[in-house]
Every structure is written in C-alpha cells, then in structure tokens.
C-alpha cells in the first residue's frame, strides 16, 4: 500500500452532504427504536393487564418525562418510517440521481419534521 496517501479521518473536518446526514440519522433513529421497544412492550403489558393497569398507563402518560420519552420514541419511529420509505422508493429507481437524490433527502427531512411536530402536539394534548 502507498503510505503517502493523504489520510484525513477527522470527522469534524468532513463536509457531509444532506443525503449522508439523512442516512446517519436513519441509523441513529433505528438504534433509538430498538431501545424504545422495551418501553413500548412495558406499556403494552401494563395496559393489557386490566382496568387498573390501563389507568396506570394513562396516569404515567400525563407526566412530563413519560411524554418526553414517548415523543422521543415516536420521533425516531416517524423519522425511520419516512427515511425507510425513501429507501423503498429508491429500490424502485426513484431518487437515484444526484439531483433527485438531494431533492428526496430534502423532502424526507421536511416530511419528518412536520410529522415529529404533529406528534409532539398530539402527545402533549393527550
């Protein structure tokens, strides 16, 4: 191997194009959802255990930190869903060129932000 190859692994010095940021957020949101499944299963278990358990979940969901956790999981889920849909569309050949890929990344970000804001309004109105 040629040792004189320029090496720059300082990630903070890289300029990441928007599709790369969309992609890394897809990974991050996937990891958040994976951990979030534990919270969702706990909630499902408690909510199905009876009237009392269901009431307990409703009570939990009125607390600030529970709302924050639910909004966080919902945000990761909605982002992952939108970015994943972009992947499925790319499987069909949509958004594979440089220009259309950048547009698809922008559309993904805008739709995800709108859904995350709506989810926040919904969670705090519950």
């Amino acid at each position: 191997m040629n040792n004189k190859r320029p090496v720059n692994l300082d990630l903070s010095k890289f300029h990441f194009p928007l599709p790369a940021i969309i992609s890394i957020l897809h990974r991050v949101s996937g990891i958040i959802i994976f951990a979030g499944v534990a919270f969702m299963l706990y909630g499902l278990d408690l909510s199905l255990s009876g009237e009392e358990g269901y009431g307990h979940v409703s009570e939990l969901l009125s607390g600030f930190f529970a709302k924050l956790i639910i909004w966080g999981i919902l945000s990761a889920l909605l982002y992952h869903l939108v970015a994943g849909t972009k992947h499925l569309l790319m499987d069909m050949g949509v958004g594979e060129e440089l220009a259309s890929g950048l547009l698809a990344a922008k559309v993904t970000l805008v739709i995800a932000i709108i859904l995350i804001v709506l989810a926040g309004v919904w969670v705090w109105a519950m």
Binding site: F34, V37, A38, L44, Y54, D91
Partner: protein, 117 residues
Amino acid sequence: MGDVSSVTNLGRSGVADWLMQRVSAYILALYTVVLLVFIIANPGLGYDAWAGLFSQTWMRIFTLMALLSIGAHAWIGLWTVTTDYMKSALPRFLVQAACGLTMFVYVVWGIQILWGF
C-alpha cells in the same frame, strides 16, 4: 468483507439480508400505520376497546409478525452498523450478542403479553 463478518449476518448472504430487510420493513410500516390510525381515530380510548383489539386473533398474529420483523430488521440493521464502526472482533461480537439476546427477550416477552392477558 472478512470471514468474521459473513458468519454473523442473518441471511448468510447480502442479497438474502437485503430482501429480509425489505419484507420486514413493509410489515413494520403497515403495522405502525394501522396502530397509529387506530389510536388517533379513537380519542378517549378505553380499556375495553384496547383489550378488545389485542384479543382479536388477526391482531395477535399481526403483532407477533411485527415483533418477529423487528427481530430480523434490527438484527440486520445493527449488524450493518456494528460491522461498519466496530473493527475489533471481540467487542463487536459481544455487542452483537447483547443485541441478539435483547431481541430474543423482546419476542418471548411479546408472546407472553399477547397470549397471557
């Protein structure tokens, strides 16, 4: 791609993983949308309607399908992430094993919830 990478991936081939990731993605997307629409369409949802939904056989099968899809989907996703960022074999194997154990617990716990209430 070394040997270590190819013994831990789910489908033993990139194409099989690719297909499994797509099939599980469609199932999970559908399940997410169905459940969110049900909750949004039923404001003030009570215990009876909630337990009624999850006591339906189709919903139990659909939920189990979603749980198994999470297992496969998360395995392939986390395998990709760990093989990308963790270059040292032992720590990578340990993290993958912890992820695998967590997924197994999720699936068994989910079955217990679905058929245990």
